[in-house]
């Protein structure tokens, strides 16, 4: 017996490739973030990337929790679900298990995703459902007007930490790797090209794709990432990691990262002691390396790694679920409720 969903899918099947522009992904709702918020750029880049994915708009679902970033679904002209604090990943998991045919995206923040929703996030990552998670990290609680977040730096003075924060911050990339993620990336709101390329790679990945996006909150934490995003300091403060390429950085591209044992260190390519051949070469498939790169994050003497840390394959949860169901059907035949009710020990009273 086919279900209502199967009927719906067979009715709405189209062979023609959807042709969209970024405009097709803009909803009729007024965008209500603060002027100058980094979220505008992330929204624009997402709407720009969507037409290239070749997915019909009605097959896309954006799910969010609570926080500034979580308003995102209202502005996407797709299906959307603005849910409750921290639970977007769990709701998205339910959507994906029910309907593996849908392209499911989660938009969350450092508070929503790493604090109240930390548990659901790590479990999604280990299960590897084919869901894209965009975590907007602004290192502050914006919607509740300026408390420190689980990614705020030690000593941060906020409304709830007048003497400075004594919480050690999460590194979202390390946390994600620790949760056995299959795709982990970091990008920045103020680098549209990089952001777009990472979003595309995330969309193509078969499995949970975790993307940390450095996002400027110009009201409560302005400039938190300027060292990494602004022209003057960016080149010397960020190392862009790319698969198969040595880790070179610096305005003159005259610096690199080499491994000293397991420890990454900055070396100069100018003084003749080291050459590009001595540098660490990134390999997206190397899980061990991904941890070493992620661990560079808060080290004061090392540039901030940005890019795709890891992209490996593992079966998705929803595919395994479907496989078990198919296996059971093959082995036992399609379930018959009448037979089940009458199975086992029964007796007749006349």
């Amino acid at each position: 017996m086919s279900t209502l969903v199967e009927e719906l899918l067979s009715q709405t099947q189209t062979t023609e490739q959807a042709k969209y522009t970024s405009k097709d992904f803009q909803s009729d709702q007024d965008v209500r973030w603060c002027p100058g918020c980094g979220d505008y750029s992330i929204l624009a880049q997402t709407q720009r990337v969507m037409p290239d994915l070749g997915i019909p708009r009605h097959k896309i679902v954006f799910v969010s929790g609570i926080g500034c970033s979580s308003r995102f679904p209202y502005y996407m002209n797709t299906y959307g679900f603005h849910s409750i604090h921290g639970r977007a990943t769990a709701i998205a998991s339910g959507i994906k298990m029910a309907r593996p045919d849908l392209s499911v995206w989660v938009v969350t923040g450092d508070g929503d995703g790493m604090s109240i929703g930390g548990n659901h996030l790590i479990h999604l990552l280990r299960r590897n459902l084919n869901i894209k998670v965009l975590l907007f990290n602004n290192q502050i609680y914006g919607l509740t007007k300026g408390q420190y977040s689980p990614t705020s730096e030690m000593g941060k003075v906020t409304k709830s930490t007048p003497y400075g924060s004594i919480d050690y911050p999460f590194n979202p990339v390390s946390l994600s790797l620790g949760a056995s993620s299959t795709f982990v990336a970091r990008t920045m709101d103020r680098d549209p090209k990089h952001l777009q390329s990472v979003l595309k790679r995330a969309a193509e990945h078969r499995g949970t794709a975790f993307v940390e996006v450095y996002q400027n909150c110009n009201v409560f934490n302005d400039g938190a990432f300027f060292q990494f995003t602004e022209k003057e300091t960016k080149d010397d403060s960020v190392v862009f990691i790319e698969d198969g390429k040595p880790l070179v950085f610096g305005k003159e591209r005259d610096k690199g990262i080499r491994l000293n044992g397991f420890l990454p260190e900055v070396v100069s390519l100018k003084n003749g002691k080291w050459s590009v051949n001595d540098l660490l070469v990134h390999n997206e498939k190397d899980t061990t390396l991904s941890f070493i790169l992620a661990d560079m994050t808060y080290k004061p003497n090392l540039p901030r790694p940005v890019g795709i840390f890891l992209a490996v394959n593992r079966p998705t949860y929803e595919a395994e679920m479907a496989r078990q169901i198919a296996f059971a059907r093959e082995k036992r035949g399609e379930g018959d409720m009448s037979k089940l009710l009458n199975s086992g020990e029964t007796w007749v009273i006349n």
């Binding site: 209502l4 709405t12 409750i84 339910g94 029910a98 169901i325 379930g335």
Partner: protein, 611 residues
């Protein structure tokens, strides 16, 4: 062979009791299934500790299983037992209070050594000090007889001793004239991969039977004829199994896939286990990381077009509360099954209680009405959870289904329904683009359209923020909020228009009306029946729909001089009845983790009749 006589009984209650590792639940379940096959009516009460393997021989490690069966209608597991099978001193100590005067005690004498007596807190051996003189005591060295039956099998003494519950079962099969074949068949399939254990269990079962047959110790056998139940095909079923099957049946009749998001919790986990078996029915079971993910994944699945369900017990409902409010706001169909247990907090995980009614009715932030429906017997869970699904789909709302530990683990014979005759409860997904708005209202039910992702042209956004009427856009206007709060309330109230009127068992007018809900059904029914036999003016109203209440409840209440509300809580339904109908109802409250005995309700009615 010894001379044996056979005596006929209308009904009997047996309690098996032993260490939590002694297999008493298994023994009780086997005796129950065999008894069901013989056509007796029955009711069971498993009563076990929260500890999986409590220290051997201790009082808190005692596990019991009571079965009440007969040739007459049986509605409760029995107020007291006629026969107590005690595998050790602690089991005797804990359970003696539930044995009738003159009742039979079958003891495993090996469980009464000095250590056992000390652990049970006995100063002297009750088997020797005359303290059991008002009972008939049958002393059997079950452990030794088990070992003897297995001596040539080369099993370790520890493994061999594990079979001793089958000796007790064999004896009871002999004593109550039950066939061994169903249990032998069960052992054969259960231990198919462990032939030595299979052989041992079958041998010990037969040894127990033969012991009854050949020794002098038992002089009487009992015969309990089949009950005169309505004709048809029966099976035995527990409340949790009936719940799982009811959910599956509802999904089939709704032509939807069933999605269960659930976190293990006593006493609801068996529903998760049961549903996990039926992958060939397309059932998706998801063991979530916590209770919150259990319900939110179900909400997500429902948004995407599955029948989303979550199963839990009270503490889990507490965690799901915020998500329930979300489901109210986004108006998506989900069913939350609460298999209640003793609370608050972790409370009494393996004991029963019905103290989550007010939580179900009101336990959310904001005005968040949800339909609440309760099952009254184990088999009743099937139909009631089916009805929960029907209402959830038709009214696009979360529905709370209430069962409890007593119903979930208890069992009874069930007249198997004809699946083909169950109603079609399918609803239509919205597919028409023209005129679509996410919060359009059906004129009759006020439900909104179910437009699932994947439908071209119906892209829309939902969420927990207040909705503008019709458009579903985020809206903070004062009058819109008030309008929407009232609309959501009215949607649930309108369910009362279609549910059947409540029915009184007994006279429609009179002295006392006993009003109950949930698992108190059997005890109230029995107590009321006893009074009616005596000619007293007592009737019974049992409420399945707790929100909304059937339209005629007030009318029924006003036709009685007194209203008695027995509940396994401090008085929750009674608060609702008093508030809504302004009746001076009287409560009878038991909060012991145990179901009511019929006699407790009977006595209270007596007291009220005497005025």
């Amino acid at each position: 062979m010894a001379e044996k006589t056979t005596q006929k009984l209308d009904e009997v209650t047996i309690r098996f009791a032993g260490d939590s590792g002694d297999g008493m639940q298994l023994t009780g379940t086997q005796f129950t299934n065999t008894t069901a096959i013989l056509g007796n009516d029955l009711s069971t009460l498993p009563d076990f500790p929260a500890e999986i393997r409590a220290p051997q021989g201790t009082l808190f490690g005692v596990s019991g299983f009571q079965i009440h069966f007969g040739s007459t209608e049986i509605n409760t597991p029995g107020d007291a037992c006629d026969v107590l099978v005690a595998m050790n001193a602690a089991a005797l100590k804990v359970n003696l209070r539930s044995l009738i005067d003159g009742g039979a005690i079958i003891v495993n004498t090996d469980g009464f050594n000095d250590r056992n007596l000390k652990l049970a807190g006995y100063q002297s051996n009750p088997l020797k000090d005359g303290s059991l003189s008002k009972y008939q005591v049958f002393e059997v060295d079950i452990s030794k007889l088990t070992a003897l039956a297995l001596q040539d099998l080369n099993l370790s003494s520890k493994i061999a001793d594990r079979s001793k519950n089958f000796f007790a079962l064999g004896m009871m099969y002999w004593m109550y004239n039950r066939p061994m074949e169903p249990t032998i068949k069960w052992i054969q399939s259960k231990f198919a991969n462990k032939p030595d254990i299979m052989e041992a269990n079958i041998r010990v079962l037969k040894a127990g039977w033969s012991y009854g047959e050949t020794t002098e110790i038992f002089k009487v056998r009992y015969q309990v004829a089949a009950a005169k139940l309505p004709p048809g095909k029966y099976r035995n079923i527990t409340g949790n199994q009936a719940t799982a099957w009811g959910l599956m049946a509802a999904a089939k009749k709704a032509r939807l896939d069933l999605f269960l998001g659930s976190y293990p919790i006593t006493p609801a986990s068996d529903i998760l286990h049961e549903l996990s078996i039926y992958k060939h029915f397309g059932v998706k079971t998801f063991q979530a990381e916590d209770e919150i993910a259990g319900i939110t994944s179900a909400i997500g699945a429902s948004f995407a077009g599955d029948l989303g369900v979550t199963t839990t017990s009270g503490p889990g409902v507490a965690l799901k509360t915020e998500a329930l409010g979300l489901a109210v706001m986004v108006e998506l169909p989900i069913v939350v099954c609460n298999i209640q247990r003793g609370g608050p907090s972790t409370g009494l995980p393996t004991k029963t209680e019905q103290a989550d009614l007010l939580q179900a009715l009101y336990g959310r932030n904001g005005e968040a009405p949800i339909p609440v429906i309760a099952a009254s017997t184990p088999a009743d869970c099937f139909g009631v959870v089916f009805e929960s699904c029907r209402l959830a789909l038709k009214y696009m709302t979360p529905v709370i289904f209430l069962s409890d530990g007593y119903l979930g683990n208890g069992s009874e014979p069930w007249l198997i329904p004809d699946f083909n005759k169950l109603p079609d409860i399918s609803v239509k997904f919205r597919t028409e683009k023209d005129g679509f708005l996410p919060y359009l209202r059906d004129e009759a039910t006020l439900s909104r359209p179910w437009a699932v992702p994947g439908t071209p042209g119906l892209e829309h956004r939902i969420g927990g923020l207040e909705k503008q009427h019709l458009s579903g856009n985020v809206n903070y206007e004062p009058l819109n909020h008030e309008f929407m709060v009232k609309l959501r309330a009215e949607k649930i109230e309108r369910i009362a228009n279609e549910i059947p009127p409540a029915e009184v068992e007994g006279d429609k007018k009179g002295e006392i009306l006993v009003v109950g809900w949930g698992s108190t059904y059997g005890a109230i029914k029995t107590a009321v029946a006893r009074h009616r036999q005596k000619g007293n003016s007592v009737s019974h109203l049992h409420l399945k729909y707790l929100n909304p209440l059937p339209m005629n409840v007030g009318e029924i209440l006003y036709n009685f001089k007194h209203v008695l509300v027995p509940e396994m809580n401090l008085g929750q339904l009674i608060k609702v009845l008093r508030a809504k109908y302004l009746v001076p109802a009287v409560g009878l409250n038991k909060i012991q983790g145990l179901p009511f005995m019929a006699v407790e309700i009977e006595n209270k009615i007596d007291e009220m009749l005497k005025g």
